[in-house]
Amino acid sequence: MSWWDNFVIALQGVTSNKLRSMLTMLGVLIGVAAVIILVAVGTGSSAQVQANINRLGTNTITVLNLGHFGGRATVGTETSAGTITLADVRQIENPVDAPDVASVSPVVSTSTDATYSGASDSDAEVTGSTPTYLTASDYTVEAGYSITSSEVTGRERVCDIGQTVVTDLFGTANPLGRTIQIGSSSFEVVGVLATKGSTGVTNEDNVIIAPYTAVQDELTGESQSFSELLVQGKSSATLDRAESEVESILATANDVSVADLPFEIVNQASLVSTAESTSSTFTVLLAAVAGVSLLVGGIGVMNIMLVSVTERTREIGIRKAIGARKSVILAQFLYESVLLALLGGIAGVIVGFVGSHFRIDGVMPVIAPYSIVLALGVSVAVGVFFGFYPANRAASLRPIDALRYE
């Protein structure tokens, strides 16, 4: 008896009761499809979080001067406010002092309304910085030009504006060369930023970027210290080194130890890794839930195989009487259960594929190839595992008992 002959017999077994086979497969189908879709949702949401973090900039370290906001710069036992001065910025820019830093952009920011001939945009984020800020935070200029270094040194009242500001103030009109009111000062629009979308909390398109000198002059009135530094590292691998270089420069300048720095330092690389571990936990959780449904599907296969063995007791007896060995009967019923599970699994992969093309709760699922291999592998394993007991029961029947069975 070749395995093929036996396989054909098993196939006949599966097709002889189509409705029942189909319902059994449905259990496995749902399990496999659930694994694929839920893992895809997990992978998709992880990719989305990743993209959101990347939108913050590329290989950046953000130094936030909490004391600057009069906020909670509680360090050690006493509250102290540090300062980030232009001298610090110059030192961080120096490749000798901070070799792993690509650029540093001092930031002063405020939130205010912008208006243009009657139209207004509420709560635009006004950021005063240098040209490097735009590249470090992944802003691209769609029209016009990015603020320049000479405009920074010349304290010129020019600005680049985000898409939300454009829409709110100008509608469809061309904003380039127009003068808008920011607070009580007027700034000329020299560039329009390409859209970045929302990070969930803040609208990254409701921004106005101007030379920090002009913002200090006109809006914040501050000239001694910056509220924030945006440092771009040379690569993600050296980001941690760049962070410690920045920290030691600031610690020296503020005359405190690195541990006592009154700044909050956000390293993008650590943000990414935190997000990754969170989303992988999430994915594992989803996969586990889906795995349970696959298990239930497997039990369905076993149930049907047991029914099938009971129903076909007589047939098993005949087969044994005409020379089928125990191993052949075992194989026949194992093939049958694996076939049920595998066909269900393949259908599940198809459903999973289709299902993963729909946005689920705002997340675009991304199919993880491993989940397909895993789900199919598990469904075969389910067939073998849950088929073995019924198959073995069939194979162990004594032919005389099986023949007597009515």
Partner: protein, 262 residues
């Protein structure tokens, strides 16, 4: 062979079946049922034997033991010179597939499987190649007059036709022994005669046939008739010598062969 009587046998032609002092005891709760009480029997190659008895006489148990479907509680059994006592399940299934062709009362064809596939099955289990398998299965079906029913499913055939498929399945492996258990029990008289005639033809062609029945009519087809009662052989009558033609074949040979071919 561990001390088997086969070695002790004189160098004559081996009988196909030799059982000695075979007993079968079933435990029914507290009570013991003696289905066979020390039966000894020798069946020669080429014989046509009917084993008769009322229900409860032990003839089914006899058939199960002769067919290696069950093992005796006590006693010895040599099938075609092989001591089948103490063989394990795997070896028994090999012995069954090589030496015995079964015909059951309820036909016992595999459902949803064509006549041809049913007849091929024992060959498939014996590992015969598909081409050879097919050739032999077609030949066996021709022998029982069903050459034009190869693709029929069991539920498309009459009882007599199904039983003839079962006979074809029994002979396709060229077994030493054909064991038929009430083969006509579910058939009308004409179909029963057909099937019995096929057994006669097979026997005339040299096959050993053991028929288990409770109908005296059918026993008339056999060369030797054994009667069982309460697990013991109470009579053993031979009407035709082992080498002779089956008793009912002479008279009907020509007529039946003609009708079967149609």
């Amino acid at each position: 062979m561990t001390g088997s009587a086969t070695d002790e046998l004189p160098a004559r032609r081996r009988p196909i079946i030799e059982i000695k002092q075979v007993s079968k005891i079933y435990a029914m709760g507290e009570a013991e049922v003696h289905a066979l009480r020390g039966v000894s029997l020798t069946i020669e190659r080429g014989d046509f034997v009917a084993i008769m008895g009322a229900s409860g006489s032990g003839k089914s148990t006899m058939m199960h033991i002769l067919g290696c479907l069950d093992v005796p509680t006590k006693g010895w059994y040599w099938l075609d010179g092989v001591d089948v006592r103490g063989l394990d399940e795997v070896t028994l299934s090999i012995v069954r597939s090589r030496k015995i062709g079964f015909v059951f009362q309820a036909y016992n064809l595999i459902p949803r499987t064509t006549a041809l596939a049913n007849v091929e099955l024992p060959l498939a289990y014996a590992g015969v190649r598909p081409k050879e398998r097919r050739r032999r299965a077609v030949e066996a079906l021709e022998n029982v007059g069903l050459a034009d029913h190869l693709g029929y499913f069991p539920n498309q055939m009459s009882g007599g036709q199904q039983q003839r498929v079962a006979v074809a399945r029994a002979i396709v492996t060229n077994p030493a022994l054909i064991l038929a258990d009430e083969p006509t029990g579910n058939l009308d008289t004409a179909a029963a005669e057909d099937v019995m005639h096929i057994f006669s033809l097979l026997n005339a062609a040299g096959r050993t046939v053991v028929l288990i029945t409770h109908e005296a009519d059918l026993a008339e087809f056999a060369k030797r008739v054994l009667r069982l009662r309460d697990g013991e052989i109470v009579s053993d009558v031979r009407s035709v010598p082992v080498e002779g033609l089956p008793p009912r074949l002479h008279a009907e040979h020509t007529i039946r062969t003609a009708s079967m071919a149609s």
